[in-house]
């Protein structure tokens, strides 16, 4: 088994590690990616305010809130793993990473349960769409659920990639030199925190429009 020789970490002129800067540039592009969808949401909500409020009440708030709590905890676990790696505390790193993966996987599991429930209630936009509410709100509600499924499934896809990165990182513990692990841990943690940030913004927009 070959061990990578520790390299001098590539750095930007102001001292920022290059890998970290690269991940931030990627995050910047992702901000614009989701930003477009967020504007579509904002535009649609301003046109169909009542329909959005009504449609939002049909989302599964228990699952949504539980998922938010899970993802926040997972993010904290990854933050801990990143710090533990910096401190070369490998046992703690491994435990924290596994916790983050388990929590993230539970999120995705609950999400699929939620999608199943949405489908059973006839909330998938299309010919089978049905909603008990005023008929004038129907098209607005369908727009809401189009955005809901688009945004949450895109987010879930990002989470799946993130879980893959976390799993790969866990596997690298003990197989690479410390500096390399720390570098990868920082960058992976950054990505996972960003995935968390997206969900933090999506949660009130999709689940909490109007529950009064």
């Amino acid at each position: 088994m070959s061990t990578l020789v520790a390299r001098d970490e590539a750095r930007a002129p102001d001292g920022t590690p290059a890998a970290r800067l690269g991940m931030w540039v990627f995050i910047a592009s992702e901000v614009l990616f989701f930003g477009g969808l967020l504007f579509a949401y904002a535009a649609a909500r301003s046109t169909h305010a009542h329909a959005f409020a009504m449609a939002s009440r049909h989302t599964e708030i228990v699952i949504g809130t539980a998922n938010t709590a899970l993802l926040l905890t997972s993010s904290a676990a990854v933050a801990l793993a990143s710090e533990a790696a910096s401190a070369r505390a490998w046992r703690l790193t491994r435990v924290a990473l596994w916790a983050a993966i388990m929590l993230g996987a539970t999120f995705l599991l609950l999400k699929s349960v939620e999608y199943g429930l949405d489908w059973r209630h006839g909330l998938i936009p299309g010919p089978g769409f049905r909603l008990d509410g005023p008929a004038s709100d129907r098209s607005g509600a369908e727009v809401f659920f189009s955005l809901y499924f688009l945004m949450t499934s895109l987010h879930a896809l990002h989470m799946l990639v993130g879980l893959g990165l976390l799993a790969w990182l866990t596997r690298q513990l003990g197989r690479r030199d410390a500096a390399s692990i720390v570098r990868h841990a920082h960058v992976t943690a950054l990505y996972w925190h960003f995935v968390d940030v997206i969900w933090i913004v999506l949660y009130p927009l999709l689940y909490l429009v109007d529950r009064s």
Binding site: S75, H193, P204
Partner: protein
């Protein structure tokens, strides 16, 4: 690992736990606020709490505060571009006739749709 290393890590764990608890408290707050009748303030409260959570994650987990200038420049650029996107698209939303936004004035839309104007004086 040295005892100072352990001490440092214990401090890190405490801080991470504190931020995590704060995030959960904010989650409870935003969830319960949705059940109150706040009217137009509901969106502001929801987004305001979301912003607080984002800043907690950004500052303590993503370490934006400890980052170099280049990194903060990248983040600022992203947010400025997003704001620009919202402003330019919002300008369209503000003035178009079909699928008008709620905050458009009626007299703005009618001439464009060539509808007969209502009989009130103008």
């Amino acid at each position: 690992m040295s005892s100072t290393g352990h001490h440092h890590l214990a401090g890190v764990m405490r801080r991470t736990a504190a931020v995590w608890l704060a995030l959960l408290v904010l989650l409870a707050l935003t969830c319960s606020a949705a059940y109150l009748d706040l009217g137009a303030g509901r969106l502001a409260v929801g987004l305001g709490i979301a912003l607080a959570k984002v800043m907690l994650v950004g500052w303590f987990f993503m370490k934006v505060g400890q980052s170099g200038t280049l990194l903060r420049a990248v983040l600022t650029l992203a947010l400025v571009t997003l704001a620009l996107l919202f402003a330019l698209s919002g300008a369209d939303l503000l003035v178009r006739a079909w699928a008008p936004a709620r905050f458009q004035a009626p007299q703005q839309i009618e001439p464009l749709l060539a509808l007969p104007a209502p009989r009130h004086a103008r």
